[in-house]
Every structure is written in structure tokens, then in C-alpha cells.
């Protein structure tokens, strides 16, 4: 293997090396080590203290961030009625909150981006110089994430177009724009525009590598796996996800998501036992991360693995548990589908009263959700004929018509 000289490595660091060099360096430990040595030499082993004006500026920013923690609680109690003073610290705190809110309640996150815009309008742009432009870009990017999660794809793409116009003045404009490109790729993947998605990933990947953003690089790999899966290329999907698992630097959420995805690829190729192992590991990680809903979702899929393996007694407690968990959290769609799975296991074990009881509960959920008339009719018929020899087959058909095997989730955004 031929490693690159210092001049070429400096070009790579500066973002002006040819693609072949960037590709090599991103994967080469020797070149990475040489870059570190080169930077060590440039620093000349000496330190420089910050001038007082810069130190004061950093102090003001940090003070604003500290004060924003308490102020954010006040704002979140009544965002519409909040009339407190706006600072960039408060805005940064709100943007961080919106980021976490995206997973919990994207509609609420979307509403909060409007409040963030109002706060931004009250900030003295001269005093804050370039930072207000970047913050505007961040608001539009978060808005796009929320819109994507609400399946408002056209608006999500338009929001990214707007975000992009605010970044050029930022010192890290290339990283910000790469992050926009990644978000676009995730939307294109949802829209089955795979070639467009890949073009965006190709533009983002070298920038993430230059900034040492390993986790974001893993998210690129994770998304490439999801795209391959959706195109039915199971081998490529598995290879991408196995590479994520083997890589250093993956955070636990990425690992959990990757294991969850990999399990679905293994299920598609009939490797049920390996799929269950990955799902158990994913559920454990989600629990440790304090994400009980995701953990339950993983356990639900384990139950479905056992259903496919016809291991009814192991499937049953997992599926009943998922049904009850989602029902308790008013996640009616998931509760209904998990209920149908649990009824399948009861039926296979010839426990007709339990199967009927769960199906009646699911029927109520379907009526509450105003589900398609034919599905409701089919379920009503099933409840009445639960002991017939064709009930099991009818239940499977109903289940498949409502929700074919779900696609693996793709990362929403390159997470921090």
C-alpha cells in the first residue's frame, strides 16, 4: 500500500485532495496517524492564551447557555405566551430541546421551530455577527426533520433548500451543507429516489471524514444499508450493517438501530435464530438508553421471529406484552397490530377464548381509528368464527394486508 506524502495529506486536510486520496486516507490508519503528526508539528508545541476580548466573548456565550437552562423550562411551559428576553443561548437550548422532541413528538417539534424563529428575530444580529445566520439554518433543518417524520416530504425538501441558503457565512459551512445533504439523502430514500440519495451521500461523506465525524460516517453506512434493503439487495444491506457493528466509535443508539435493521435482513433470508439474537441485544441497548418504546418494538419483532419459527409458547408472552405496552401508551396502531400477532399465537395454541378476547379489544381499537371498512368487517367475522379451521389463515391474511413486514428505519439525520 502506498501512503501519501505530507503535502498531499495537507491537501486532504484542506479539502482539496482528489477523491481517490480522500477515499484512501479515510480508511488508512497510517495516513491518519501521519496527519496527526503533521498537525502536532504545526502547533510547534507552544500554547497561546486568548486575548481578553475573545475570552470575554466566550464567557458571555457560556453564561448565556447556563442561564438558558432555567429560562427554557419557563418557555416550554407556555411557548406561545413566553415574553422573556431572547438570547442566542436560549435559542441554542431550544434547538437542542427540539432535537430530542423530534423522536417523541414531531408535531410538537415542528411547532417549536416557529417559536425559535420568533426568538431569533429578537436577537441583535450585529452583536452576534455570523451566528444568527447559522442558527436560522439550524431552525430550517430541524423543521425539515420534523416534516419528514410527519411524511411531509415536499415541505421537508423545501425547508432544506432554505436552510442551505443560511450556511455560507458559517466557519463550518461545508460541514453544515454536508449535514443538509445527508438529510436530503434520507428523504430521497423514503421517496424511493435511491440514485438521488446516493449522490447526496457521496457529497457528504468526504466532509464528515475530514472533520473526524465518525458517527456521522456510520450513519451514512447505516442509510446505505437501508437503501440496499429497500431495493431487495439483502447481501449489500447486511454487509453495510455488519460494517457499522464492526466499526469503532458507534454510539449505543446507532448500534441498537443497526442490530434492529440487521435482524430484519436476517429474517428476510430465513436466519431466524441470528435475527432473534440481534433483536435481544437491540432491546437491551434501547433499555439502557432509556428508550422503552424502542425496546418494546424490538421485543415485538422477536415475538414475530418466534411466530415464524412456530415457537408459539416463546412468541406469546412477547406479543401479549407488546400489545399491552402500546395499548397503555395510546399507540393504537402498534397496539392493534401486536394484538393481531398475539391472537395468532393464541390461535396456534388453540386457546380460543384468549384469542377472541384480544381480537375484540383490537376491533375496538380499529373502530376508534376509523380503519378501512373491509378490515373492520374481516375482523368482526374473525371474532365470530374464531374456532373455524380457516381462522388462522384468515388472521394471517388480515395482518399482512394491514402491515407487510416493515422496512427498517433509516436514520433521520446525522445525530450529534
Amino acid at each position: 500500500v502506498r501512503h501519501h506524502d505530507e503535502s498531499t495529506l495537507m491537501d486532504y486536510v484542506a479539502g482539496s485532495a482528489p477523491a481517490a486520496v480522500a477515499d484512501h486516507v479515510a480508511k488508512c490508519d497510517v495516513c491518519e496517524h501521519n496527519i496527526e503528526e503533521l498537525l502536532d508539528r504545526l502547533s510547534n508545541g507552544t500554547e497561546s492564551p486568548p486575548p481578553a476580548a475573545i475570552l470575554e466573548r466566550a464567557q458571555r456565550i457560556l453564561r448565556e447557555d447556563a442561564e438558558a437552562t432555567a429560562e427554557l423550562s419557563t418557555l416550554l411551559r407556555d411557548p406561545a405566551g413566553y415574553t422573556g428576553q431572547s438570547t442566542t443561548g436560549l435559542l441554542r437550548a431550544l434547538l437542542r430541546h427540539i432535537e430530542t422532541e423530534l423522536d417523541r413528538d414531531p408535531a410538537s417539534a415542528l411547532r417549536l421551530t416557529a417559536k425559535a424563529e420568533t426568538l431569533l428575530g429578537q436577537i441583535d444580529a450585529v452583536q452576534e455577527r455570523g451566528s444568527t445566520a447559522s442558527l436560522t439554518g439550524e431552525i430550517w433543518k430541524l423543521r425539515s426533520h420534523a416534516q419528514r417524520m410527519l411524511s411531509l416530504y415536499d415541505r421537508a425538501l423545501a425547508s432544506l433548500d432554505i436552510a442551505e441558503t443560511y450556511y455560507p457565512g458559517s466557519p463550518v459551512s461545508d460541514l453544515d451543507l454536508a449535514s443538509v445533504a445527508f438529510s436530503r439523502a434520507a428523504i430521497f430514500a423514503d421517496l424511493h429516489r435511491y440514485a438521488d440519495a446516493e449522490r447526496q451521500l457521496v457529497s457528504a461523506e468526504p466532509v464528515f471524514a475530514r472533520y473526524g465525524e465518525r458517527r456521522r460516517l456510520l450513519h451514512v453506512l447505516l442509510l446505505r444499508g437501508a437503501i440496499a434493503f429497500r431495493q431487495g439487495e439483502m447481501r449489500s444491506a447486511r454487509s453495510a450493517w455488519e460494517a457499522v457493528l464492526a466499526a469503532h466509535g458507534a454510539d449505543e443508539e446507532t448500534l441498537a438501530r443497526t442490530r434492529h435493521n440487521l435482524a430484519q435482513a436476517l429474517m428476510a433470508t430465513g436466519e431466524m435464530s441470528a435475527a432473534a439474537d440481534h433483536l435481544y441485544a437491540a432491546a437491551r441497548l434501547y433499555e439502557e438508553l432509556g428508550k422503552p418504546t424502542e425496546a418494546e418494538r424490538a421485543r415485538w419483532v422477536i415475538g414475530r421471529v418466534y411466530l415464524q419459527m412456530k415457537d408459539w409458547s416463546r412468541a406469546l408472552p412477547l406479543l401479549v406484552g407488546a400489545h399491552q405496552f402500546f395499548h397503555g401508551r395510546d399507540m393504537l396502531e402498534e397496539a392493534g397490530l401486536a394484538g393481531l400477532d398475539a391472537a395468532s399465537a393464541h390461535l396456534a395454541l388453540r386457546d380460543f377464548p384468549s384469542a377472541r378476547s384480544i381480537l375484540r379489544g383490537v376491533l375496538d381499537l380499529f373502530l376508534a381509528r376509523k380503519l378501512e371498512h373491509r378490515a373492520v368487517e374481516a375482523l368482526q367475522h374473525l371474532v365470530e368464527t374464531i374456532e373455524s379451521p380457516h381462522a388462522s389463515e384468515a388472521l394471517q391474511q388480515l395482518r399482512a394486508s394491514l402491515d407487510p413486514e416493515p422496512l427498517p428505519p433509516s436514520p433521520t439525520r446525522p445525530r450529534a
Binding site: 495537507m10 476580548a53 466573548r57 455577527r129 457565512g169 459551512s173
Partner: protein
């Protein structure tokens, strides 16, 4: 808590300032005073970042390279300065060049962002050089230079 965060930022400044400055000057040939400005912009962007940074040195180096490229992109649109640009213009003389405050504002639109801000603070808002330096988060020496260059450009524009 602020003290800890500030100490961490100061440590990052102390250990990375030199390498960032060297990259800007040696790799991108940025003039010394502007290189100082760019490095400060990058280090302030770091303290303002809402994201977790995985590899601080690579992030900062990536940022200074990008900021340096942006610098030359924006300077391509501007005329180069003659050595006389560094002489101190008399603001009263410059005011005479314009017929009205409206013309002054229009003229300000023609100069680059940081020069524009510096001139605006000095001659429209009446700030002193140390006050401008504090507002822009830079040194007095650099703030003074921004005002001088900005005024020279205004003068040139007024003569056209």
C-alpha cells in the same frame, strides 16, 4: 459550571490556536491580521456549537480550512488595496464625500460585512475603537484596521 466550561474552552484555545493560525497562513496564505480574525471566528463557532464534537482538533482544522477558503471567495469580489489604504482617513472629510446619510447607507452596502459593521459602529453609532473591538469580539488593533480599510473603501466609492 461556567468556570469549568470556560476553562475547557480556554484550554482548547491555548492548545489549538497555533496550529489553526499556521494552517491559515501557511496553507492558505491569509494575511496575518485576517488569519487571527478567522481563527477567533472558528474558536467562537466551537463554543457556540449545538452539536457534540467527536474529534476537536480535526473539527477545528476542518473549520479553519473552510473559513480560509470562504475568505478568499469573498475577497475575490473586492478590489485589492494600495499601501496608502493604511493611512488614517479623517471621518469629517469622508462625510463630505456623501450628499446625505442615505448615500452613506447605500455606500455601506458596497463593502464587505465586517468592514461595513466596523464603519457603521464607528461613524453611525459613534462607538470608540475599544467598544467596537468588544462588540465584534476581537482586539483593538484589528478593530482599528477594519475601520481604516472600510473608510478607504467608502472614500473610493464616493469618488466614483
Amino acid at each position: 459550571m461556567i468556570d469549568d466550561a470556560l476553562a475547557a474552552w480556554e484550554a482548547a484555545y491555548r492548545s489549538h490556536y497555533r496550529v489553526l493560525f499556521a494552517v491559515a497562513v501557511q496553507r492558505f496564505h491569509i494575511p496575518l491580521a485576517d488569519a487571527e480574525w478567522l481563527v477567533h471566528d472558528v474558536l467562537v463557532a466551537y463554543v457556540q456549537s449545538t452539536r457534540t464534537i467527536e474529534d476537536l482538533r480535526r473539527w477545528l482544522v476542518g473549520a479553519i480550512c473552510n473559513a480560509s477558503k470562504n475568505y478568499w471567495r469573498s475577497h475575490k469580489r473586492e478590489e485589492s488595496l494600495s499601501p496608502s489604504a493604511l493611512s488614517i482617513p479623517d471621518p469629517r472629510a469622508t462625510v463630505d464625500v456623501f450628499d446625505s446619510a442615505i448615500a452613506a447607507h447605500e455606500a455601506l452596502d458596497d463593502i464587505h460585512g465586517k468592514y461595513r459593521t466596523a464603519v457603521q459602529l464607528r461613524y453611525i453609532e459613534g462607538c470608540t475603537i475599544p467598544e467596537i473591538a468588544a462588540k465584534l469580539g476581537t482586539t483593538s488593533r484589528y478593530a482599528e484596521k477594519l475601520v481604516h480599510i472600510g473608510m478607504q473603501r467608502l472614500k473610493k466609492r464616493g469618488e466614483k
